[in-house]
């Protein structure tokens, strides 16, 4: 059964979000997403400093069987990316909510975060 940590926010394209103490938002893909993908073998991430609108494609995650876009779930500027994930994509399967974060965004509007899907709503979406 997929893990859906209660303290995170979610979007329907299967990314999770976490607000850090400094107001930036850390983003990754959910446990459900990695289960659907299977063994992850390649991750491409955006450049630090890129600006995205919500819903833009910011990268790609590829498993042995398929490629899947990584969408930006909140408007803002990329302030950090996870090079460890690029070097060892398999951690997306083993630690989707921890070591395998994808990138960090400084949101254009901090209030956008509060309106995102809760863990309970995401659980309902995926039938968990």
């Amino acid at each position: 059964m997929s893990q859906v940590p209660a303290e995170l926010k979610y979007v329907d394209t299967h990314e999770w979000l976490r607000r850090e103490d400094d107001g930036t938002i850390t983003i990754g893909i959910t446990d459900h997403a990695q289960e659907l993908l299977g063994d992850v073998v390649y991750v491409d991430l955006p450049a630090v400093g890129s600006r995205f609108n919500r819903g833009d494609t910011a990268g790609v995650v590829e498993s042995v069987k398929a490629a899947s876009d990584v969408y930006v779930p909140i408007e803002g500027e990329v302030v950090a990316v996870n090079q460890d994930l690029v070097d060892a994509p398999e951690i997306a399967n083993t630690a989707p909510y921890a070591q395998a974060w994808f990138f960090r965004i400084k949101p254009a509007d901090a209030a956008d975060y509060d309106g995102l899907m809760t863990a309970d709503a995401y659980k309902a979406l995926i039938g968990a």
Partner: protein, 363 residues
């Protein structure tokens, strides 16, 4: 409604993630495709390939019939037990299917793909009318592929009654197992680039045999790993490398066409001879990605002689880089670029296979 093999319950019990494979509910993996791939390269894995179609051909004109039907020549099968890989072609020289034919005590056994079963059987039946032959499908048979460097030893441990037969088989040979009842057939063939066996047996005995293999240390292996293994081995997959619109000469199957004797008028011969005389416009190559990303079927290949296409691509679990099979202009050079999601990434043309017996082959 998806069809299920006799091993459906065994797949569920082993934690298989079941998906639709050509209308059959079969496991794509049992947890990790990468681990299953690695097990076949280093130890032994078992695949349920019971969805494949087994056809027996008997009769006074069985040889003449298959010499007409197939691009390779069954006359090359010098003794009972030998196997031959062949294309079955349209009159225009397209590939209806690829198959293995075994010379048997009852004349021949042919194993064709599941996805092409209906059209294959119709084509075979249509052409069999002109010959004194009987064509019989054997849907009651299950088929297991046990593959990997320890496949033969572990299968012998799981089925000691088969060990003498297994010990006597050379690569690409298969024989009926007279030691056991019910129509067992053991072949030293496979689709992984490793040593291994493909065993046909009555469906009602399949679960017991599967369980004995697991006890002997053979791991359940899904059809996802089967695809990455065959791609590393440079083996074609019907519907990817070839179909009825693709000539075998442009799909790396030139070696399977028996041009001699010239008098043998197999279906598709005239079209292929014309193509060979003109020089095929395309050829099959292997690609190794030097840039970023993963090569996938359908991506465009830009070469110094024009555009080609990737027919199968993946991340190679053995080599830890992305590889592909591609159909490119015949005159293309060694350096190409592949359009991966809108970016041109460099790739190198190599002579396949990529992997045999667990190790890199190409230079």
């Amino acid at each position: 409604m998806l069809q299920r093999t006799p091993l459906y319950e065994a797949h569920v019990a082993a934690g298989g993630k079941l998906v639709d494979f050509a209308g059959w509910e079969l496991p794509i993996h049992y947890g990790s495709q990468l681990k299953e791939h690695d097990i076949v390269r280093t130890d032994a894995g078992v695949f349920d390939v019971s969805h494949m179609t087994v056809i027996d051909v008997t009769g006074p004109q069985a040889t003449a019939f298959l010499q007409k039907l197939l691009a390779n020549d069954v006359a090359r099968l010098g003794f009972e037990g030998k196997a031959l890989y062949s294309g079955m072609l349209t009159a225009e020289g397209g590939v209806i299917d690829d198959l293995i034919v075994y010379k048997t005590a009852w004349d021949y056994r042919v194993v064709v793909n599941a996805a092409t079963r209906d059209k294959d059987l119709a084509w075979i039946a249509q052409h069999a009318k002109a010959f004194d032959v009987t064509v019989t499908e054997r849907p009651e048979l299950a088929m297991l592929a046990i593959q990997g460097p320890n496949a033969l030893a572990k299968t012998s441990a799981a089925a000691p009654q088969l060990s003498a037969l297994i010990d006597g088989l050379q690569v690409f040979q298969g024989l009926a197992a007279s030691e056991v009842d019910g129509g067992w057939f053991v072949a030293r063939t496979g689709y992984t680039g490793e040593d291994g066996l493909e065993i046909m047996l009555p469906g009602d005995q399949a679960t017991a045999f599967w369980n004995a293999l697991l006890v002997a240390g053979v791991s359940p292996t899904g059809l996802g790993a089967r695809d990455t293994l065959r791609l590393e081995a440079g083996m074609n997959l019907y519907g990817h490398e070839m179909d009825e619109t693709i000539s075998p000469l442009t799909a790396g199957m030139g070696w399977t066409i028996a041009w001699q004797p010239e008098a043998r008028d197999f279906i598709g011969r005239a079209a292929l001879e014309a193509e060979r005389a003109a020089g095929p416009a395309f050829r099959q190559v292997g690609l190794v990605l030097q840039g970023k990303g993963v090569l996938r079927a359908g991506q465009t290949v830009q070469t110094d002689a024009g555009a080609g296409v990737i027919t199968s691509g993946t991340f190679s679990p053995t080599l830890k880089l992305s590889i592909a099979m591609a159909r490119v202009p015949a005159g293309c050079g060694e350096q190409v670029e592949v359009d991966i999601r809108g970016k041109l990434e460099p790739a190198r043309v190599i002579k396949m296979p990529f992997v045999r017996h667990g190790a890199q082959v190409f230079e």
